[in-house]
Symmetry: C2
Subunit: 360 residues, 2 copies
């Protein structure tokens, strides 16, 4: 067996220690004689796993007591509907900030449930930077403000948390959650598909301030009502037990690394190394303004795009996997989430330097 | 490591061979240097796994070409809303057959989206049998007829497929799918949460006749619209990749066992043995009429319920896990899905005989 460096944007790399533990206890969890996947979600054993995962996430993120943590299904794409269905209110209006493909998906689905007002958009700048606080045109009567702290495809990221006064701030943190400290009390609701920084695909984490529960529109399916899930501790129906368990292993791994403050140090260093190398080269380029660059997803292009195929073939042969950019934008993209070690970034830079020398 | 016999109702036992394979390739899938969980759902490798799983399910069930197979999230509980949202039509009405707790959940959620008409109910018989075809009061103008072929909690099961003429038949097959042959062409739509006979929790399989697609109500969230998923081959957003993969391993295991015809033989024998033993005893009892008994979920009571706790403690000590009945009904329940081997049923009967001798 030979593990390679995996720069996939999602489903993405998981910590090797976590996979090893899941492997070792796959047929017999803690000597009980069955897999964690084969247990009732209401069994004492699974409930303890589930509760511990929630507590570890609360510890890692410093989640205040007046927030509920939900372990759901359906991905961020389901949240694009759940957020307006639960928070828009009757005849409501919400503010959205458009910074790229994921923002636009949220806006498109959100508009089906009420009025979606554009508080700011980077589209006329080809999504090369996020809007500043000054550029936000906020409606004080909005039901909420929705934004995407990190755009996985575009590779741009907010370097600040928008100030929205009394209006609840809603964030799609799928690709940036747990990558650094975050003041949860600034948000009304945070959601994240697990498959980037938390665990396997099929699990969605929602962190919601409790005063926002219980206001779902009458047409909301029960499974799309946050209160239904909060009242049942995310066990209104059978939750994705393996994903929840694996997320718990990731949270414990994060604690062993020193928590999100330690991850911030490593993630900053990884990003600075890679952007620093790209900026120093005429062969590679990144299109995002320096202050808006993503720490998690680093898109880059070659000066001569005819070399793209060769770059991808040779990087893969060198054990650097999944560097192809998203099909909508082309080029390359290195996703360097928590579970991608600094040694992977070092190996990537070495390869890029060598490739440039041979082809530049 | 010592695997025990697991009679959990769900999440339920998985074939040991499947768990072994998943374990062995957990860190390095087919020599690619990463886990199946760490791959993009759009990668060549994962798409081949996903397509093969669909094809194997089509082979196993003989699914006609004019049916789509969807791999979704959210469990049967999401289907309780998706079915009416997609099939009810404007101001529509649908017929539901009530045979127990899962039927009632479908009826309750369905009633939020249109008129739910009760075509038959076994409630006045304490759900001790399913209604016969003659007892079905069907509305020829109904949008569909919904029923629950097997009630996981009550332990009763239809021994026939209702004839509904031109009205599409919709079945919640969560706890009986793949346990024996089934003529899919009799159905408009079949859905099943995976965590009983297919794979891990967090995956839902939907088999839908293609003329029923594209009719969702305007208020339907995109993620609840079957057509959205069908058009995207279940990859409108990131699917639960590990569950899909594991389901594929289960389908291949089923093929190696000889398919659903072979499972039928084994499952019939398992059920006949266990019911035969219970019926021959005055110490144990099953409340369901013989023709309506579930092959998958066998509830039983002790003549003296004060012995329940002792029975559960001693059966667990004997390596027979999860025999406690559902919290809503009490008593015992042995779920004997495909992955529960005949030797487990033999061991259970041996234990029950011995327990009766010691306590009867």
């Amino acid at each position: 067996m030979s593990r390679k460096f995996n720069f996939s944007a999602g489903p993405a790399a998981l910590p090797e220690e976590v996979l090893q533990q899941a492997r070792d206890e796959m047929l017999d969890w803690h000597g009980l004689g069955l897999s964690i996947m084969e247990m009732s979600h209401r069994s004492e054993a699974f409930v303890s796993v589930a509760s511990q995962a929630e507590q570890d996430l609360r510890d890692l993120m410093g989640i205040p007591d007046n927030y509920r943590v939900l372990f759901l299904q359906g991905g961020a794409t389901s949240q694009f509907a759940m957020v307006p269905l639960n928070l828009m209110g009757d005849n409501g209006s919400a503010d959205y900030i458009n910074t790229g493909i994921w923002s636009k998906k949220a806006i498109q689905e959100g508009g089906r449930y009420g009025k979606v007002r554009l508080a700011a958009s980077s589209e006329d700048l080809y999504f090369s930077r996020v809007p500043s606080q000054d550029e936000l045109d906020l409606d004080a009567s909005a039901a909420y403000v929705h934004y995407t702290p990190n755009e996985t495809i575009g590779g741009l990221e907010f370097d600040y948390v928008p100030e929205t006064g009394a209006v609840p701030l809603v964030a799609d943190m799928s690709s940036t959650i747990l990558s650094r400290p975050c003041d949860v009390s600034r948000f009304g609701l945070i959601y994240a598909g697990a498959q980037k920084n938390i665990g396997p695909a099929g699990l969605t984490v929602v962190i919601v301030r409790d005063d926002l529960l219980g206001k779902a529109a009458a047409t909301t399916p029960a499974m799309f009502d946050y209160k239904v899930h909060a009242d049942a501790d995310s066990m209104n129906n059978t939750p994705p037990t393996f994903g929840w368990y694996l997320a718990g292993l990731v949270f414990q791994w994060l604690k062993r690394q020193g928590g999100v403050a330690a991850m911030e140090t490593v993630n900053r260093r990884k990003a600075e190394k890679l952007y620093g190398f790209i900026d120093a080269s005429d062969f590679y380029a990144n299109p995002i303004e320096v202050g808006s660059r993503s720490w998690m997803n680093v898109p880059f292009t070659l000066a001569d795009s005819r070399l793209d195929t060769r770059f991808l073939e040779q990087s893969e042969a060198a054990g650097l996997l999944n560097l192809q950019g998203h099909r909508s934008v082309g080029g390359m993209r290195a996703s360097i989430y928590n579970a991608v070690p600094e040694s992977a970034v070092d190996a990537l830079i070495d390869f890029m330097r060598d490739f440039e020398r041979r082809n530049g």
